[in-house]
């Protein structure tokens, strides 16, 4: 299988779906002439023209709403948020519009839209450009939320998201775009709502998604050297949430550490911990533990930023804690 970047995997998914369905179009800031702020849309304007690859003014609420309106009449817009930070301007459209339209219209208006872009912290971009807000969107009934960690998952899930009849919130990892992975040349899709075991193990269950999968994998390497076997489960979709593989894993390991980049308070990890304790209470040998971003706006200084982010070292420490080592 060819080894390609996460960025190119997304580009392939967009290209294939744009070719497959004339109702699909891509709209957002700098997606066309500029070729994408992160080059995810590179070459698409040249192939599909400006009718379908649409550069917008900087007007997130406006163009997100335009996409939702177009979806009401059966088009399949892919709306690019240059970063998810800017989606806060479009939250009324996404939540009051896209998420609720089908329900409040008594099932009449489906909103087959994908809103996608990079989330999470990059490197020293400071408070307004560094945040993981997938928990906010995962809170909302009517939305589907996806956060792939590998090029393979990114491509397969984006293709599914574009074909889905409901609004899909698609979090890409800002620092994952250059990461490489195997992606088959033949067509494939990955269903939304199916978790994936990223590493098999026996002693402790790690739950991580998006960029945090690589943090968990690094920690697992280090722990393996210490004789601890980690199983890493990537839910890939945050809503709907496939908890079955997590519960099966915890039944085996009796311990769980959740790694998430977002803030701790009312974060998604708390919901996952709730679900585990509700069905697995008697199987747990230690409290479910979370490694999260610090409960602060992201600082600029390199050392502070590092402190605010989950790291392999913090995951190693949490795993040792649930195993009662030292």
């Amino acid at each position: 299988m060819p080894l390609i970047t996460y960025r190119d995997a997304l580009n392939q998914a967009l290209r294939e779906e744009l070719r497959r369905d004339p109702n699909v179009f891509l709209m957002g800031e700098e997606v066309g002439v500029y070729q994408g702020a992160y080059k995810v849309s590179k070459g698409l304007l040249q192939e599909f023209g400006e009718r379908r690859i649409i550069d917008t003014p900087i007007t997130e609420e406006g163009f997100t709403g335009v996409g939702i309106g177009a979806a009401m009449v059966g088009l399949r817009p892919v709306i690019e948020m240059m970063t998810w930070n800017f989606s806060l301007l479009a939250m009324d459209q996404i939540i009051n519009g896209a998420a609720k339209m089908l329900y409040m219209s008594g099932g009449q208006f489906r909103i087959p839209i994908v809103v996608r872009g990079p989330g999470g912290a990059a490197h020293q971009l400071a408070a307004q450009h560094s945040q993981s807000i997938e928990s906010w969107y995962a809170h909302v009934p009517g939305l589907k939320v996806v956060a792939p960690s590998t090029p393979y998952d990114a491509k397969g899930l984006l293709k599914t998201a574009i074909r889905d009849d409901d609004p899909v919130i698609f979090f890409e990892g800002e620092t994952l775009y250059g990461s490489k992975g195997e992606v088959p040349t033949e067509e494939y899709t990955i269903p939304i709502g199916v978790a994936d075991i990223k590493r098999a193990g026996t002693d402790v269950t790690l739950v991580a998604w998006s960029k945090m999968v690589s943090v968990a994998l690094k920690a697992a390497e280090e722990l393996a050297a210490q004789g601890v076997s980690c199983e890493i489960i990537d839910p890939r979709s945050l809503r709907p949430f496939d908890d079955a593989p997590i519960l099966a894993s915890v039944a085996k390991t009796n311990r769980c550490v959740i790694v998430e980049e977002g803030w701790p308070y009312a974060g998604l990890g708390a919901q996952i911990a709730y679900q585990i304790q509700q069905t697995m209470f008697g199987d747990l040998d230690a409290p479910v533990t979370r490694v999260t971003g610090a409960d602060v706006p992201m600082p600029y200084a390199k050392n502070l930023e590092h402190m605010a982010m989950p790291s392999p070292a913090r995951v190693v420490a949490a795993v040792r804690e649930v195993l009662y080592l030292e």
Partner: protein, 388 residues
């Protein structure tokens, strides 16, 4: 010629259109009472005086009478809603359209069935006039299963895809981008439908309004933005909310065609919107229309008709210009109807409202299964397991 019509400049870099129409040439002044010492909006409009003769001559008699009949139906329906609200058959927020009928009826009389409309939460009459069965609207207000939105939307969220009724939206100005998106889709598919987007004058201070108008003008989208300027955003008058009172003038910022029309005159609205529809179909170009009108009821059923923000005298004075009475006057003068004919239409309107009530009463409440239906386009099952 009306002087408040503005057309966009021909070249993108051309001089912006001027605003000279806002202060002259008004044929029908209707100033609102001034609060002591406060600057007030000039609420006069400038529709050409010949629009009545023009519309009476150009419009088939059946259409003219149908418009009167729909105005009466809208009025009687809303009066019944007030009654049903008092009886607690209707819950939540309930915003009535009484006094503003000329805007929806005049505007919708220019449309084809495949054109789309969006409006705000004051949406009952728009829905009915767009072709939604009044019984299904009333059933929705009653929270019943046969409601147009299956009892899930209520008064503020009336939707009917088949009729081209795209809602019923309750965040002020939030639906303006959505309507722009439907217009975008018409252009994307190279079809000639137009989209009408109704909202109140208070919505023009919302960012979504400006973002939408900019895109519609930039991309030439067939969207007609109709500001129903009833002078008050809830209890805040336009003078207290807006730095400029000439709402249509805001189109200048986007080099968009605009027009101010007397929203109490159904023929003037029809005259004006038909020009905008033509512009939308032929040129795929947007228009901003300001229809100056007046609401006779409170903002919603839980708000007073008058009080701190407007006087009883002001409301009574406005009632003298009742849009149904004045339209009836024009039809009588043209020899198209008499008092007896009016009474007949009114009886039919009242009967239709009674049938709507009967339909709503007979409809069952939604079932427990309906609670989780239509959250997603597939069954909710897997979501529910993880969520609860």
């Amino acid at each position: 010629m009306p002087t408040s019509r503005r057309t966009p400049s021909t070249g993108r870099k051309a001089e912006p259109p001027t605003n000279k129409g806002s202060s002259q040439g008004r044929s029908r002044p209707a100033p609102i009472p001034a609060a002591a010492g406060r600057r007030t909006a000039d609420m006069s409009t400038s529709t050409a005086p010949d629009h009545i003769a023009r519309q009476l001559a150009a419009t088939p008699k059946a259409t003219l009478l149908d418009m009167l009949s729909k105005m009466l139906l809208g009025r009687r329906f809303e009066e019944k809603c007030a009654e049903m609200y008092a009886l607690q058959k209707i819950g939540g927020f309930c915003h009535l359209y009484i006094g503003q009928e000329a805007v929806a009826i005049g505007a919708l009389s220019t449309l084809r069935p495949d054109d789309a409309i969006f409006t705000s939460y004051r949406d009952h009459v728009h829905a009915i006039v767009k072709g939604v069965d009044p019984g299904r609207v009333m059933a929705e207000l009653f929270g019943r299963r046969d409601g147009v939105s299956k009892g899930k939307g209520g008064s503020m969220h009336l939707f009917d895809a088949k009729a081209g009724m795209f809602g019923g939206h309750a965040i002020v100005g939030g639906h303006i981008p959505l309507a722009t998106g439907v217009a975008f889709a018409s252009k994307y598919r190279q079809q000639d439908q137009v989209t009408l987007c109704f909202f109140g004058e208070a919505a023009v201070n919302i960012g979504a309004f400006h973002e939408s108008l900019n895109m519609a003008a930039l991309w030439k989208l067939p969207c007609i933005y109709i500001v129903e300027n009833n002078r008050y955003g809830m209890g805040t008058s336009i003078e207290r909310a807006s730095a400029i009172y000439d709402v249509a003038a805001r189109a200048c910022a986007y080099d968009m065609a605009s027009e101010t029309v007397d929203g109490m005159d159904v023929l003037a609205v029809r005259d004006c919107i038909s020009r905008a529809v033509e512009r939308g179909r032929r040129e795929h170009a947007p228009t901003l229309v300001e229809a100056r009108c007046y609401r006779y009821m409170g903002h919603s059923m839980s708000d007073p008709v008058h009080g701190h923000y407007r006087t009883k005298e002001e409301v009574e004075e406005q009632k003298l210009q009742d849009p149904i009475k004045s339209y009836f006057g024009h039809l009588v003068a043209a020899g198209l109807i008499d008092q007896q004919g009016l009474e007949q239409l009114d009886r039919e309107a009242r009967a239709a409202v009674e049938r709507a009530i009967a339909f709503a009463e007979a409809s069952p409440e939604p079932s427990a299964d309906d609670l989780y239906a239509d959250v997603y386009s597939t069954p909710y099952g897997p979501f529910r397991r993880s969520a609860e």
